[in-house]
Amino acid sequence: MRGHGFLLAQYVPGNSLIHRTPLWLKFLVVAACGTASFLIVDWAVSLAVFGVMAGLFLLSGAGFKRLLGSLWMVTPILLAIGLFQWWQLGGPTAARIVLNVLVCVVAASVLTATTPVQELLDGVVSISKPFRRFGADPERFALTIAVMLRSIPFIAGAFADVRDSARARGLERNPRALVLPVFITTVAYARQTGDALAARGLGEADDATLGQRRE
């Protein structure tokens, strides 16, 4: 199974200004970009914000190739969304929507490219500590992020494998031959991951909810 396709840039060791920026500030920038994507109404502003975020990414030293790599994964979806929005609402609105999504992707990539995963998870645990009073387990929040980061490349790899298999059998134009195996593989992967996490005692639920008898 391949696992190279990844929506967000993976951590690149370095000592740039972005690497040294406190984690809370990076989280804040990502949250601000997410919020701004709902508030910005002018595509030129979206373009400017995109330029700033891309500039921050390059400032981190992660490189232009990685920037393109993280954008490449969403290109087909954004192309489809952009064309539909252009047809429905016109060019400026389509450009704004597409650029706002790209801003979010680049902002998240700046965070992941300049923060070691364990530091990121420690940050998630710190942020989610207030939810402990409601019975939430901060480590589970962190584990959710970890599993998400792991699952995206796996699913992308599964799609690449299935596409190659379909090509080998002359079925590359059959959407069912592409979608169904990826779906089944993903469900199987989710079950395996659940078993693996349980076996390692990670994200363990209360004893009462476990060990249900099978029949």
Binding site: M1, R2, G3, H4, Q10, P116, V117, Q118, E119, L121, D122, E139, A142, L143, A146, V147, L149, R150, P153, G157, Y189, Q192, T193, D195, A196, L197, A198, A199, R200, G201, L202, E204, D207, L210, G211, Q212, R213, R214, E215
Partner: protein, 245 residues
């Protein structure tokens, strides 16, 4: 109390067709005290179901499983903390993008200090000769390195029991030998299912599983002979004449 006991255990699962439940493991009782225990049997015989009983990944339909004094039914969390489980395919087990991060993930609950956690992870990786590939993507590692990494991630929390479900299936001869030497050097009580009969010969006690039943329980050499006889008998019933042309 380094004993694992199965008392009147059976495992049945419901089937979609509405027929009677399918029996994956017929009722059996066992007391396991040996340090190295092998499990052999054909594909689909019930080996994996049996192994999953050790840490509560599968719960018995009837009977009880007690691992080192703790029941997998009422104390599953503590059982899992004490029973490490290694799957056939390490990629289904490794959660993080790199080896270092995956071992650190194992240590998150037991070692809160990030620096201490990193140091402990490095020590574990070094013990398995994986420190040089600690920051490589798990997809860039060889099959043997991945399996060793899965083993390292499980052993990082120092469980008392190690369960391995066909760990050598995806490995070449060299990596199988590496795995064999690594396992033989472990302090843990090891329970391992495998199709590698050479690996089984290292075991103190071997169980043979056939159609959900424990059909043999004894020394390694006798168990292998029994299993070979079973396979030879089953093979002779196959309609091979169809392929003889």
């Amino acid at each position: 109390m380094n004993s694992i006991s199965f008392n009147g255990v059976s495992v049945r699962v419901a089937v979609d067709t509405g027929d009677a439940p399918k029996t994956l493991l017929h009722r059996f009782s066992l007391e396991l005290t040996e340090r190295r225990i092998g499990v052999i049997g054909a594909n689909g015989s019930g080996k994996s179901t049996f192994l999953r009983l050790f840490n509560g990944l599968v719960a018995p339909t009837e009977g009880t499983v007690v691992v080192h004094g703790r029941s997998t039914d009422s104390d599953v969390r503590r059982v899992r903390a004490n029973v490490g489980f290694v799957f056939t395919d390490p990629l289904s087990q490794l959660v993080m993008p790199t080896g270092r991060e995956d071992v650190e993930l194992s240590l998150r609950r037991s070692v809160r200090n990030p620096k201490e956690r990193t140091a402990r992870a490095e020590a574990v990786l070094d013990r398995f000769g994986l420190l040089r590939v600690a920051d490589q993507s798990i997809y860039e590692l060889s099959g043997g390195e991945r399996q060793l990494l899965a083993l390292a991630a499980v052993l990082a929390v120092n469980p008392g029991v190690l369960v391995l479900d066909e760990p050598s299936t995806l490995l070449d001869l060299r990596n199988r030998e590496l795995l064999r030497r690594t396992i033989s050097g472990l302090d843990q009580q090891v329970i391992m299912s495998t199709h590698d009969l050479d690996l089984v010969l290292d075991m103190d006690r071997v169980l043979v599983v056939e159609d959900g039943r424990m059909v043999f329980d004894g020394g390694a050499a006798e168990a292998v002979a029994h299993y070979r006889a079973l396979c030879a008998g089953a093979a002779s019933e196959l309609p091979l004449e169809r392929w003889s042309r």
